[in-house]
């Protein structure tokens, strides 16, 4: 096979003459540092090839693929239902929202209806997922700033409570594999909603203490305010979604725009940032938790009875008509979309995941240029990536 290939970009190592404060001529070489794939601050097997002028970042190229597990290829060789457990492993913090996005895409493709009770269960589980994702991310961000342990331990303590709920509901802590096309796999166990209610009632108290401990912390302010700024125009052009986009002040939340599921029935606000820096991203996440708690409070009071799955939905031997569909939801990281092409066979012809984590990294270099390398670490932490989704 002869295929035209693109030549790799040439690398320039310039020698920059500099003047010291005393007026002496200094010559310094640029230093190339490969941060990753094994690096404590890269949140997994992610690599940044950073070119440094002293401590200042002059070039940053992200390198991906260290966790490229061929999710899309495997999904094209298996049935529609067979891909559901694989979606758990995309963004392994938020398996339930991944399930929902995939189920939504297939429901659009096949025209399935979701019963009322299942819609409520989906909203409740998705918002719980958002809670545990955002608390953990804030913990990881602080870990990157050097707050080793404490905030992350607090976050994980709350996360474990929510994972216990997931385990009671689905049988697994992380890889829930719970949603099905046209509903959910099984009904709620007895007393589950009361347990959720208790955790939702208690969560603000944890959040208050978390915020009181951190929000006005001098080190946190110094390390985050004005760091990793992102302009509104660039954010839109680069397809940034989720809390990162809203931290730049763009009012775009797919829960409000598409009103998928039953999100049009709940009252909640979209917190928006102003500066688009790391501090705004951190605060937006904490504010979104409070909004999620509002949604949960409303949803828990109104869960109706009935079936949890469309009785007409076929799980085995499922063959949607030829065609295509794109389904997207507002995941905790941003717009998570699934693009499916069906050719009428039991396997999807094309199966594509639109990964918010990967696309949110597009502007990593723009955000880090001119900053010190330590700020690059914090900026990366504020993007909130999960490598399972970046590389798939």
């Amino acid at each position: 096979m002869s295929i035209a290939t693109a030549s790799p970009a040439p690398r320039n190592y310039e020698v920059i003459p500099k003047t010291s404060p005393d007026g002496l001529e200094l010559e310094g070489e640029l230093l190339e540092v490969a941060m990753g794939p094994q690096h404590p601050s890269t949140h997994g097997v992610f690599r940044m090839d950073v070119v440094l002028d002293g401590e200042t970042v002059v070039k940053l190229k992200p390198v991906f693929g260290y966790l490229h597990r061929n999710h899309e290829k495997i999904a094209e060789n298996t049935s529609y239902l067979g891909s559901m457990p694989y979606t758990d492993r995309l963004d392994y913090f938020c398996s339930l929202t991944n399930n929902w996005a995939y189920a939504l895409a297939v429901e659009r493709l096949a025209g399935l209806q979701v019963p009322e009770r299942a819609q409520f269960i989906r909203v409740i589980t998705a918002e719980l997922t958002r809670l545990q994702n955002h608390t953990s991310v804030c913990g990881f961000l602080l870990q990157d700033m050097g707050a080793l342990g404490t905030p992350l331990m607090y976050a994980f303590r709350e996360r474990e409570k929510i994972l216990d709920l997931f385990e009671a509901l689905t049988g697994a802590r992380m890889m829930c594999n719970y949603m099905r096309f046209g509903g959910c796999r099984c009904d709620l166990p007895p007393g589950w909603l009361d347990r959720v209610q208790k955790i939702v009632d208690d969560f603000p108290r944890f959040l208050d203490s978390y915020e009181a401990m951190l929000n006005t912390n001098e080190i946190l302010l110094a390390r985050t305010q004005g760091v990793g700024r992102l302009s509104r125009a660039l954010a839109i052009s680069a397809g940034i979604t989720g809390p990162m986009l809203r931290a730049c002040g763009v009012d775009y939340d797919i829960r409000k725009v598409d009103r998928y599921g039953i999100y049009d029935r709940f009252e909640f606000r979209i917190p928006l940032g102003e500066q688009g820096d790391v501090y705004d991203r951190y605060m937006i996440r904490l504010l979104e938790i409070r909004e999620s708690l509002k949604i949960l409070q409303q949803a828990l009071k109104a869960v109706p009875g009935g079936p949890v799955i469309d009785p007409k939905a076929k799980l085995r031997g499922f063959r949607p008509k030829a065609g295509e569909a794109y389904g997207r939801i507002e995941g905790p990281k941003g717009e998570l979309g699934f693009y499916l092409i069906s050719d009428g066979s039991p396997n999807p012809y094309r199966y594509r995941v639109r990964p918010p984590s990967l696309i949110n990294l597009t502007i990593l270099e723009d955000m880090c240029l001119g900053q010190s390398v330590a700020d690059a670490v914090v900026t990366l932490g504020s993007v909130d990536i999960v490598l399972g989704e970046v590389d798939r």
């Binding site: 094994q38 997994g44 597990r69 999710h71 495997i74 457990p85 994980f156 303590r157 992380m174 590389d391």
Partner: protein
């Protein structure tokens, strides 16, 4: 070698008798420092095991070292892709002896759910010697603790002299393993034939 009965008798009288081997292994087994090295989903469970609810510090392994030079244990927590495999081997080669590997989760054992992927290494034991395998996808933190305790038992039972002595006391045994290169279609070599000797099963 002192007899077990006499040792117990002496212990009742307040005299503790031990051997260098026991002392050495006791010390080693209770301070296994893992490399803070997460690959995929299992890394989150590894982190959960080090957090308050499971508290891996009870077993002396809370000191996750970011540098392989300071680590005793590599927890291969997640899918090893072919692109990552050379770095995993390189990291292992950089660890000082004695060093151990826990293959955590189905992916590290055999490729797991992703074993049909073109970029997935079908088990880390094709390239590195694994001491403990924990199945699960992902294994719960309890399973990781179980693996750690199993490793501690393994370390405690090591005989320091003689033909069965562990690798780090045997100058002839290899401590580093060849790092595969990136080829045009696959990594080269795709496996280490000295380590990976599977039984040929013909069906």
């Amino acid at each position: 070698m002192i007899e077990e009965g006499l040792k117990n008798e002496l212990a009742k009288q307040g005299v503790v008798v031990t051997t260098i081997q026991e002392l050495y292994n006791w010390g080693r087994s209770n301070s296994v420092w893992p490399l803070s090295f997460g690959l995929a989903c299992c890394a989150i469970e590894m982190m959960a095991a080090s957090m308050a609810k499971w508290d891996i510090a009870r077993f002396g392994s809370e000191v996750f070292r970011p540098s392989p030079r300071q680590a005793d244990l590599m927890i291969v927590a997640g899918t090893v892709t072919k692109k990552m495999a050379p770095q995993v081997v390189r990291l292992y080669n950089q660890m000082p002896e004695p060093k151990y590997i826990i293959a955590m989760g189905a992916c590290a054992i055999s490729g797991g759910p992703f074993k049909q992927g073109y970029n997935v290494l079908k088990g880390i034991d094709r390239l590195l010697p694994v001491d403990i395998h924990i199945p699960g996808c992902p294994p719960r933190p309890e399973a990781l603790l179980h693996a750690l305790i199993t490793l501690q038992k393994k370390i405690e039972s090591q005989v320091l002299t003689g033909p069965n002595r562990p690798r780090h006391l045997d100058a002839a045994a290899p401590s580093e393993f060849p790092v595969p290169e990136f080829g045009e279609h696959d990594i080269v070599p795709a496996m280490n034939p000295q380590l990976w000797k599977p039984r040929l099963v013909v069906r």
